[in-house]
Amino acid sequence: MSYLTDSPIDQPALVARVMRSSDGALALFAGVVRNHHQGKSVESIFYECWRPMAEKEMAKIEADVAAAYPDVAIAFIHRLGLLQVGEASIVIACTSPHRDEAFAACREIIERVKQTVPIWKREKGPDGEEWVGWQGN
């Protein structure tokens, strides 16, 4: 199953992939486009991705987190393309018999996605568009 989508994320479908009758906890994280960044107004964000490597990195993250938390069921998906304020760019669903593992696994997934998955965002505001973060000189 792909970790990437060009459409709005179907959160109930994602949750349905991980819910088991033995689970007592569902930890759900959504990253959402906000209307500001470092003091500047943001209207929308375009997410660019190198898809084949992103799929590989996200599969590695799932395998590592699943190995670290064997009782947790994991599903997550990142949206690409143009997103408006309030829309979810990533949704992560983790279930487990008890809450500690679900929270921990969910947190580890988002932190690792932000470190290694080749996705870049370009913010658009009233003053124009720019890549977020490193821009050379």
Binding site: S89, V113, K114, V117, P118, I119, W120, K121, W131, G136
Partner: protein, 81 residues
């Protein structure tokens, strides 16, 4: 030997191409290709190392030796999530 160079996001905009076939000398390392880009593009000239380097879709150190047919990518710091 030939390698395929891929560039993304802000690096693609700086260099002006997303994909390029390169003829490189045997024994070349990824950093040698980066140094060639630095020499031609002032916005990255001061960066002695690329932000991230991948060969055949795995992160590697820039000192990695290249082989004929490799797919080399220089990757700006990622900002997904």
């Amino acid at each position: 030997m030939k390698v395929r160079l891929l560039l993304f996001a802000v690096l693609r905009d700086i260099v002006g191409t997303d994909e390029r076939e390169l003829e490189v000398a045997d024994g070349s390392r990824a950093i040698d290709v980066w140094n060639g880009l630095r020499a031609a593009h002032p916005r990255i000239a001061s960066y002695e190392r690329p932000p991230f380097t991948a060969v055949n879709q795995d992160y590697v150190q820039p000192e990695t030796m290249l082989r004929d047919g490799d797919e080399l990518a220089f990757i700006p710091p990622v900002s997904g999530g």
